[in-house]
């Protein structure tokens, strides 16, 4: 297990460095974006603000300080878990993100179930009817933008059949349409990877031997073949999950799903930079951590990776 520990340590240092670079990028991208946030904030309802108000607000928000000073202040707050105050309603951003994360995780989790379930189905029985249908549907869906898929689902299932709510997260079954919209897109990539690897693994001599030995096909697949086929799929799964969390931006807005993605879109529209920064930082950090976690899972599952 020393080797595993080694992998963990190395990954931890790498992850920290990546997070630091991420924080610089997030800060620069949002701070150097064109336009004066103070003016945009004050210009609600199409009203031109006065120069005095803009100057006062710039000072209040600390926008008149030099960029490096602002970055250090911002980072030291972030490290302490304080993501600042919203420019629009002056409420704490950390609390807002924390209160909305569960909804996003619920949606991403449901979408991951859909994607993983479909990928398994299509990979285990690639030539069966189910497998073929899943492959065809996911490829079609993956090649259409999620927004269009979502609008179609709403108009057919929610408006036409009235089988499910059009949006929100309060009504029963509300998660189904957004989860399908997100999950179907993710399923296509996952299916292709898992199916190819599984086919290869099933053809390996030791798996054939296991079958020849009289091992049940189920054991042959789950204990032997899936373990060999897993690493690529785990990595892809980590990346796909990160995609789901990030892709939730479009789907959450369309389905009025109260997660962080919807928050990000409304913050971008209103130039609420602290919220945009927090969103990019949190999602970026989540992606980095997910990929690191996937790496670890692979290290545990696949002894070859542990070798220095």
């Amino acid at each position: 297990m020393d080797l595993v520990l080694n992998v963990v340590l190395r990954r931890a240092v790498e992850t920290l460095l990546v997070l630091l670079v991420l924080s610089v990028l997030v800060f620069l991208l949002t701070s150097l974006a064109p336009g004066d946030p103070a003016e945009e904030i004050l210009r609600r309802g199409g009203i031109q603000p006065t120069a005095g108000s803009v100057a006062a607000l710039r000072a209040e928000l600390g926008l008149d300080l030099p960029l490096p000073v602002r970055y250090v202040q911002w980072l030291s707050d972030v490290v302490r878990g304080d993501l600042g105050l919203s420019y629009v309603d002056r409420s704490p951003v950390t609390a807002e993100i924390v209160s909305r994360l569960p909804a996003t995780l619920r949606l991403a989790g449901a979408a991951a179930l859909v994607a993983a379930g479909l990928a398994l189905l299509a990979s285990l029985r690639p030539r069966g009817l189910g497998g073929r249908v899943v492959t065809a549907v996911t490829v079609v869906v993956a090649s259409v933008p999620p927004y269009i898929v979502g609008v179609l689902m709403i108009s057919v299932v929610a408006v036409g059949l009235r089988a499910l709510p059009t949006g929100g997260d309060t009504a029963a079954g509300a998660v189904v349409l957004p989860a399908l919209t997100l999950g179907l897109a993710g399923a296509a990539t996952l299916t292709r990877l898992l199916r190819a690897d599984l086919a290869q693994a099933l053809a390996l001599p030791f798996v054939r031997l296991a079958a020849a030995k009289g091992l049940s096909p189920r054991r042959a697949v789950t204990v032997h073949a899936l373990r060999v086929a897993a690493p690529n799929a785990i990595m892809a799964g980590g990346a796909a999950l990160a995609d789901l969390v990030a892709g939730a931006v479009v789907v959450e807005t369309l389905f009025s799903w109260p997660g962080v993605g919807q928050l990000a879109i409304s913050a971008i529209r209103q130039r609420d930079l602290p919220v945009v920064q927090a969103y990019v930082l949190v999602i970026g950090a989540a992606t980095v951590l997910l990929l690191a976690l996937a790496d670890l899972c692979v290290a545990v599952a696949d002894p070859r990776v542990r070798r220095p």
Partner: protein, 516 residues
């Protein structure tokens, strides 16, 4: 295993789908409950100067506006000016109680105004406390309660103080609603027909009838206003019967109106708003520093097509600088001609510009209005008149304009209240920030003098004549031209009646009733 997986996975998916069936009637109308949807959250929270939007009718202002932007009584039943417009006295409605049961008095009104003055400038999700505040209270010397009435003493005469106070800037809430910091202590405490019963930020607001309301109790005991930011999802929720209506600015996109109006289940109410699409010329550089070419550009534009086709009939062709919602302040004598032949003649007389003119639009506005299409039509019209043109879509239009890197800018503007002076003073006076910073290059001493005269003229007839004179000047000088006056269509199911929307997109929720 194989067979089982083939059964289990689809069964799981099917189960997920079926679990949602037959349980979607959480919205929908019953006798005293109504569910509406809006594109944004109409509650902004305790750190906002107002907490809720005026349309929710939780609080009321001293003065409101009607569909002609005329000041009409709300908590003030009457007002009079004295000392040549330097003193304004408002008489309060009698028998009004806040939702906590305490009585409305002049001291509460004064406290609300003083709070605004204390916390300004302050951003808001609705109307920031800055330029509009300055229009309302910029000349204020003192506000005092005097024998049950409220008196504003001004440093200089203001002819239309009630109009400038109308709406958000004269919001009255109980002094107990505010903490020492000026933020709200807890929930809003107003005098309107509804109270804010529950609020889930970014999702929905639940209003309950205010038991202390002085007027006729509202027909619906409870109103839920959901937030549905996506325009297609909003209409889908209406079609699916989850909501009974769509309200607020931009409730329906112009492209959606015809289809929704054609559906017999729904009733679309189109009422004019103060929002006007303007074309701003960069008069500080060639080619539009030449008035002949500004005239050519205006003559080349077919406003009827833009309003009728591109804005799908949700707007009317623009002519006078002030839209018809300003009532008799708007000059009906100004007509906008469409004359491509004359435009061509003007361009050849003035000389065809060597490089294309830049038509600038903001990416922030393309989501709400079909500005990309409008800009393309403008480009084609300019080119036919002999002015080569190109379209630029920018995120930060302010920076582009301040750099002078544009020739015309298409954008929509509104007024915070019934204040006509605002548009002239803030946009086009020689020292107006819009004019100076955005390089309009418009300098006209006569115009400046007229703006100042009009804002202090207390005689309605003379004031109207001054504003009409201003509009005739602008029609001749063309620093900025109105392309179209925008309506704000809202929709309810036919079972809901009493939908009235004023020019500031405020639908009076207290007046909604079940109807046949």
């Amino acid at each position: 295993m194989r067979r089982r997986a083939a059964v289990v996975v689809p069964a799981m998916l099917l189960g997920m789908v079926l679990s949602g069936c037959g349980d979607t009637a959480e919205g929908g109308q019953d006798a005293d409950r109504l569910t509406l949807a809006a594109p944004r959250d109409l509650v902004a929270g305790p750190q906002d100067p107002y907490f809720t939007h005026q349309t929710l009718r939780v609080w009321e202002p001293l003065v409101s506006v009607d569909d002609k932007l005329r000041p009409v009584p709300a908590l003030a039943t009457a007002w009079e000016s004295g000392d040549g417009g330097r003193r304004w006295t408002f008489t309060l409605r009698e028998g009004v109680r806040f939702s906590d049961g305490t009585a409305l008095n002049a001291e509460a009104v004064v406290a609300s105004v003083r709070r605004f003055l204390r916390i300004a400038p302050r951003q808001s999700a609705f109307f920031s406390l800055d330029a509009g505040m300055e229009a309302a209270y910029g000349q204020l010397d003192e506000v005092r309660a005097d024998g049950g009435r409220v008196t504003f003493v001004l440093r200089r005469p203001v002819a239309d103080l009630p109009g400038r106070l109308a709406g958000f800037y004269s919001m009255v809430q109980s002094p107990k609603a505010f903490a020492a910091s000026g933020d709200f202590a807890a929930n809003p405490v107003g005098t309107g027909p509804y109270t804010l019963a529950r609020w889930v930020k970014g999702q929905q607001a639940e209003l309950a009838a205010n038991p202390h309301y002085y007027g006729t109790p509202p027909a619906y005991k409870k109103i839920v206003v959901k937030v549905i930011p996506d325009a297609n999802a909003r209409v889908a929720a209406l079609r699916a019967g989850e909501v009974d209506g769509l309200i607020d600015k931009g409730a329906l996109l112009s492209g959606q109106v015809a289809a929704v109006a054609a559906d017999s289940r729904f009733r679309v109410v189109r009422s004019p708003s103060a929002l006007t699409h303007y074309l701003t010329f960069n008069g500080s550089r060639e080619p539009f520093s030449d008035p002949r070419l500004r005239e050519a550009a205006e003559l080349a534009i077919d406003r009827r097509t833009i309003a009728g086709k591109l804005l799908a009939g949700t707007a009317k062709p623009g002519a006078a600088f002030l839209s018809p919602v300003f009532g008799d302040l708007s000059d009906p004598g100004i007509a906008a001609a469409y004359d491509p032949a004359k435009a061509r003649a003007l361009v050849s007389a003035a000389g065809r510009p060597a490089s294309p003119v830049t038509i600038l639009i903001s990416s922030a506005e393309t989501g709400q209005f079909p500005y990309t299409d409008v800009a393309e039509v403008l480009r084609a019209a300019f080119e036919q008149a002999g002015l080569p043109a190109k379209v630029t879509v920018a995120e930060a239009t302010k920076a582009v304009m301040e750099a002078g890197d544009y020739d015309v800018f298409l954008s929509a503007y509104s007024v915070p209240n019934g204040d006509a002076d605002y548009l002239f003073r803030r946009f086009l006076r020689s020292d107006a920030p819009w004019n100076v910073e955005r390089r309009l290059g418009y300098r006209n001493k006569e115009f400046d003098t007229l703006v100042d005269q009009a804002s202090t003229e207390t005689d309605p007839a003379r004031r109207r004549e001054l504003y009409r004179q201003l509009q005739r000047l602008l029609a001749a000088d063309r620093p900025m031209i109105p392309i179209a006056y925008q309506d704000n269509p809202v929709v309810t199911i036919t079972g809901v009646g009493g939908v009235v929307q004023n020019a500031a997109y405020v639908v009076d929720l207290g007046k909604l009733t079940p109807s046949g």
